[in-house]
């Protein structure tokens, strides 16, 4: 059997072992049901009547504030200055939701039993009242006040293909979300697949039959396949749901990618990122003796690095930092797609990023193979980072 056939046989085995269509369907249905329930609860909460706090107001006439409902949460009821002491007692006992004493446009006091959830609403409303009062004091008439407060309407006119619009942002968000989903799913399968194999003590017999490099390659391909299928099923399920919801509610639904030639790159880079990080994850998993107590599990979080960096650069895709991380192999799998969709990309960036990423995958794959060869046969103790580094260099 050739090396490639061995790799393929392992990949097929891992794929069939971990892909469980029935469980996948059950998992999707469960997620849909859970999501629907959560959404329903959110809507019920959103539609529910908000309790309006009744706040006695003393001295409101000093800033032109009278009986009013501030936002949807606070109703002011003006009272006389003489009743302040009695009202203060009532508010502190909780008989009243609160007592607002306005001293002037710069100073007010809120008496309550405890810090209320509507405090911020009240503060914002009072600030608006204070500004109006000061402007009125400055002698501006009502019409002028309205004109001052009126917002400027901004109409956006974009040149075709000249920058990211809502469609590009949705596509970018979808690419990053799917990348994260794929990495998380793959991490789970690789962790379970490799540490489980070690714990079941299968490794020695397998490794006597095939070279460790073919074994790890096969595992990466097979488990990546499972992760991709899971990710795609999740994406199709929730993407379809999102599309249906958007169309049903009459909202616009445009996943625009102005340049169709970008689509293969938007698929290729995340896939290469999976290859790179899955090789890394396999090597780390092979060094873990007991997944319940190992501290190396936290190293696996490093695989989220490209998506995290891309997320941080989401609104800064055209910066020098974004350009750097767009070609850096550890982050380019997510940052370059971000830049392709959201910024101007120089012609050299794509080939450079591709070459660097492919080269890094090759080096990491070989190093992972060496680590895997030793780590998979090590039981009872975990290697130090220094030992792992030595294995990777020396094999």
């Amino acid at each position: 059997m050739s090396m490639w056939q061995m790799t393929w046989e392992v990949a097929r085995w891992e794929f069939r072992r971990f892909l469980k269509p029935k469980q996948l369907v059950i998992s999707m249905v469960t997620m849909l049901v859970t999501g629907s329930i959560t959404l329903g609860i959110a809507r019920v909460i959103g539609r529910g009547r908000t309790n309006i706090a009744i706040v006695a107001l003393v001295g409101g006439d000093r800033v032109g504030l009278g009986a009013d409902t501030l936002g949807k949460r606070v109703a002011l009821q003006p009272r006389s200055l003489g009743s302040e002491a009695a009202l203060r007692d009532s508010a502190q006992r909780g008989d009243l939701d609160g007592l607002l004493i306005v001293h002037d446009a710069a100073r007010a006091e809120l008496v309550v039993r405890r810090d209320p959830p509507w405090r911020l609403d009240l503060e914002n409303a009072l600030n608006g009242v204070a500004v109006k009062h000061r402007l009125a004091e400055a002698g501006l008439e009502a019409g002028a006040l309205q004109r001052l407060a009126a917002p400027m309407a901004l109409q956006l006119t974009r040149a075709p293909g000249a920058g990211p619009g809502r469609g590009e942002r949705i596509v970018t968000g979808a690419v990053l979300t799917l990348s994260l989903l794929g990495l998380m799913t793959g991490m789970g399968f690789i962790f379970a697949g490799i540490t489980g194999e070690k714990q079941q003590r299968v490794t020695e017999q397998v490794i006597s039959a095939i070279p460790p490099q073919q074994w790890i390659d096969g595992k990466i391909i097979g488990l990546a396949g499972v992760a991709l299928v899971n990710t795609l099923v999740t994406a199709v399920t929730f993407g379809g749901l999102f599309a249906a919801f958007t169309i049903a509610t009459g909202r616009s639904f445009a996943l625009a990618v102005d340049q169709p030639f970008l689509i293969p790159l938007l698929v290729l880079f995340p896939l290469l990122g999976f290859a790179l990080w899955f090789a890394f994850l396999s090597a780390i998993a092979a060094t873990i003796d007991d997944p319940h107590t190992s501290t190396k599990g936290s190293l696996m979080m490093l695989s989220f690095l490209p998506v995290v960096v891309a997320g941080l650069l989401f609104t800064r895709a055209d910066t020098a930092a974004a350009r750097f991380f767009g070609v850096l192999p550890l982050t380019s799998s997510s940052v370059l797609p971000l830049r392709l969709l959201m910024a101007e990309v120089a012609p050299w960036e794509v080939p450079l990023a591709l070459v660097l990423l492919a080269g890094t995958i090759w080096v990491l794959r070989r190093a992972a193979g060496k680590i895997f060869a030793v780590g998979m046969l090590m039981y009872g103790k975990e290697p130090t980072v220094r030992e792992i580094w030595r294995w990777a260099r020396e094999g």
């Binding site: 059997m1 061995m6 046989e9 392992v10 085995w13 072992r17 194999e197 079941q200 003590r201 299968v202 020695e204 017999q205 397998v206 490794i207 006597s208 039959a209 095939i210 046969l377 039981y379």
Partner: protein, 330 residues
């Protein structure tokens, strides 16, 4: 080293050393296994058997020395996957996968076509009476049945050379017998076997030669008759008597070198090799109320225990087969 046919042995190990830190796991072991043989690699726990086996399989490399296989006219340092069968001491199976799929997978890894692997899997499950449970996940099988699947996974491709590390551990006597027969059949169909085991009565029934390790060194080697001859310092007669056995009845007889009471009603009499037994048997018959009498050979278990004890008393150096003191056999 070469066989009678003039060809080199299938496996030749020369002066192999392996150390882990300050622990000398294997210290200068040499051995050979000829085509068609069943050879037992014996030794107490920590003797270096598994370390040596791992080097033979290629899982680790010797610090010094060489491992060479001669197969199909070529000398190699490692056997190709289809030629090797390996049952490791440290073993397990994919608990969530069925026996049939597991065996077919290992068959594929060992170079069988998909159809041949499936066929071999069925044959071995049939042989081990597991055909009706072929599609159950392994976790549903008993430990003994899992052991059968494990064994089959190591040899279903009919390798030229099988290394079986503790094949009998965890098996009940019936399944131990089954494995003994199966290993003998494997040899009959062209598989050379190197096995490591602690069940001396099974090894004795099965193997052609024994290599005994202690503290990483070879302390004894040979066929079982050779080992018996080397160890034997006389003939041993076991005499059962009615009532209480009294050694004094035979002490002083010229043919008796030593006599011990080995049970309330049993005497064990040691004579020199070649001593005529006629007089002695008459004496036994006249002085004891004999209910049964038989001659006993040294078992492999006896040889093993004596050799290891002697080697440990000798700092682990190779043992020359000479007893420290004549008659000190019990």
């Amino acid at each position: 080293m070469s066989s009678e046919s003039g060809e080199p042995p299938l496996l030749t190990v020369e002066e192999v050393h392996k150390e882990y830190g300050s622990v000398r796991a294997v210290a200068g072991v040499s051995l050979d296994v000829r085509d068609g043989e069943i050879v037992a690699l014996l030794g107490p726990n920590g003797a270096g058997k598994t370390t040596l086996i791992r080097m033979l399989v290629g899982l680790t490399r010797p610090d010094r020395g060489t491992v060479a296989y001669y197969i199909d006219g070529e000398t190699r340092t490692l056997l190709p996957a289809p030629a090797l069968g390996y049952l490791p001491e440290e073993r397990g199976l994919y608990q969530d996968v069925s026996a049939a799929r597991t065996l077919a997978y290992f068959g594929r890894l060992r170079g069988l076509t998909r159809a041949d692997a499936a066929r071999a899997a069925s044959e071995w499950l049939e042989r081990f009476s597991l055909a009706d449970r072929a599609n159950e996940p392994l976790k549903a099988l008993s430990k003994g049945n899992q052991q059968k699947v494990q064994f089959a996974s190591a040899v279903l491709h009919r390798p030229r050379f099988a290394i079986l590390d503790e094949p009998f551990s965890g098996l009940d006597p019936l399944n131990q017998d089954l494995f003994v027969r199966t290993i003998a059949e494997l040899r009959g169909t062209g598989t050379t076997v190197l096995l490591s085991a602690h069940q001396m009565h099974l090894v004795e029934r099965l193997v052609d030669r024994v290599i005994l390790l202690s503290r990483g060194r070879e302390v004894l080697r040979g066929t079982i008759p050779e080992l018996r001859r080397r160890w034997s310092v006389g003939r041993r007669l076991v005499v059962r008597v009615a009532g209480h056995a009294d050694p004094a009845a035979l002490v002083g007889h010229p043919s008796v070198r030593q006599v011990d009471r080995t049970a309330v009603d049993e005497l064990t009499v040691l004579t020199d090799d070649g001593t005529p037994l006629g007089d002695l048997l008459v004496a036994i018959g006249s002085r004891c109320d004999v209910t049964s009498l038989h001659a006993e050979q040294l078992t492999l278990h006896d040889i093993y225990v004596k050799s290891v004890e002697a080697s440990l008393g000798n700092g682990g150096a190779p043992f020359d087969g000479q007893l420290p003191e004549a008659g000190d056999t019990r």
